[in-house]
């Protein structure tokens, strides 16, 4: 057998899961979709002593509108995000980006909560959470708290969750009106980890950029929010020259790619530059279409 032995629990209530998470050893792992955890266990890179499987908790799997937000249960499969009509209507960036997550076979099993908590800098969902100003609900046996996405990702594979906490829900505000979006990445093959990727949002008002957001994957220790590049655009009428300087700001100053066996950091910066320009232009065009 490939994975090392572990103690397995499959709670039938969230309370039971939270009790286990607080009582068992600190290396207790939550098993969500298992699409990153199980490969790591097969290689024995990870050898948790206890696994708490959340797959028998249907109450953690839902997508529903509440006010001007969409609430998503942490155990919702990525494949369900992809085909959800209310997400497509109110948060089209998420609909557009979800098919970039691995392959359908993985998205059928992988969960939104699992990918967020895994906090892989090359993953799509952490980038999207930051771009979309998500709030993340964590629970432990004594209560719950909401964490803003910008405070959640603490570094490579590291989050703000305490050892006794479980991520249970994600809240995403509707994208504001007059907002265009784009998600682009470059991967060696469809479904592979991307060498570089960007989520872009542009909100227009009176022909000017009211708000912009550029968040990058595989560009540092976690999802990288290029705030200075967004500042370059804010309050301005978007021109090719301005988009050029935002792309230079993000790709030369704000991201910090490490390179890997498939790419050098220089090539990643080059990709970030090109993708930023293409993504901003697409987002801008969609924002203009939204105005009509």
């Amino acid at each position: 057998m490939k994975p090392a032995p572990f103690e397995y629990h499959v709670p039938d209530s969230l309370e039971q899961a939270l009790e286990l998470k607080s009582q068992k050893a600190d290396d207790t792992k939550i098993l969500a979709g298992g699409q990153s955890l199980v490969p790591a266990m097969n290689f024995r890179i990870v050898q948790p002593s206890v696994l708490v499987d959340l797959n028998r908790l249907p109450e953690l799997s839902f997508i529903r509108e509440e006010g001007q937000t969409i609430r998503i249960g942490a155990m919702t499969r990525e494949r369900h995000l992809e085909f959800d009509a209310s997400i497509a209507k109110h948060i089209p960036l998420l609909t557009e980006a979800t098919p970039f997550i691995a392959h359908p076979q993985i998205r059928n099993r992988g969960t939104i909560g699992g990918s967020i908590v895994n906090a892989d800098p090359a993953a799509e969902l952490p980038v999207l959470m930051l771009a979309l100003n998500a709030r993340l609900k964590a629970k432990n046996i004594s209560g719950e708290r909401w964490i803003d996405a910008k405070d959640f990702f603490a570094g490579m594979f590291t989050t703000a969750l305490e050892p006794d906490e479980i991520l249970v829900e994600i809240e995403l505000p509707f994208m504001p009106s007059h907002t265009g979006w784009s998600f682009m990445e470059v991967a060696p093959r469809a479904g592979d980890y991307a060498l570089m990727g960007v989520a872009a949002l542009v909100t227009l008002e009176d022909g000017k950029c009211k708000q912009a957001k550029l968040v990058y994957l595989n560009a540092g220790d976690g999802p990288v929010d290029a705030k200075e590049a967004a500042n370059v655009l804010r309050g301005e009428k978007l021109s090719d020259a301005l988009i050029e300087s935002a792309a230079s700001m993000a790709s030369e100053q704000e991201i910090n790619p490490y390179g890997n066996v498939h790419t050098s950091p220089e090539f990643q910066r080059h990709l970030a530059n090109v993708l930023t320009k293409k993504a901003l232009k697409q987002a801008m065009q969609r924002a203009e279409e939204n105005l009509q």
Partner: protein, 167 residues
Amino acid sequence: MTQSFPVTINVNEKEYKREVEPRILLSDFLRHELGLTGTHVGCEHGVCGACTILFDGESMRSCLIFAVQADGHNITTVEGLATASPLYGGTEGGGGLHPIQQAFWEAHGLQCGYCTPGILMTLVPFLKQNPKPTEDEIRHALSGNLCRCTGYQHIVDAVKLAAEKMR
């Protein structure tokens, strides 16, 4: 201390009751416990797609699921394709090859055959959801299954033929 859990898993419309250690992967359970060696095991970390099965009708990697998690669920492996064919649009009564299998035979969609079971299981739900796929869509659907022999051209031809047969 080794834990073991009783499981009842429906595989290809047949119920199996077994005791499993939680760390046994569904792929190894199918092959070693049930003797269903049609599900192939390649990379064992979810990249190659050889171990793709249907879990309650959806394609998934059986090397990334523990057998204990399949308790109470319906699994379909490549062995279930021919006999289960009425369920998936094949010949009434079963027994014959599934139309996708037949198309792979006719269009030479395999050489060594190692990746074939995983590809077939990927295609069953794909062609159900997308009965008239374009070549681009077919190639995209195959991107999660590695084939080192064919260069994919005959596989793509086979999928086109299968789609025709199933319409």
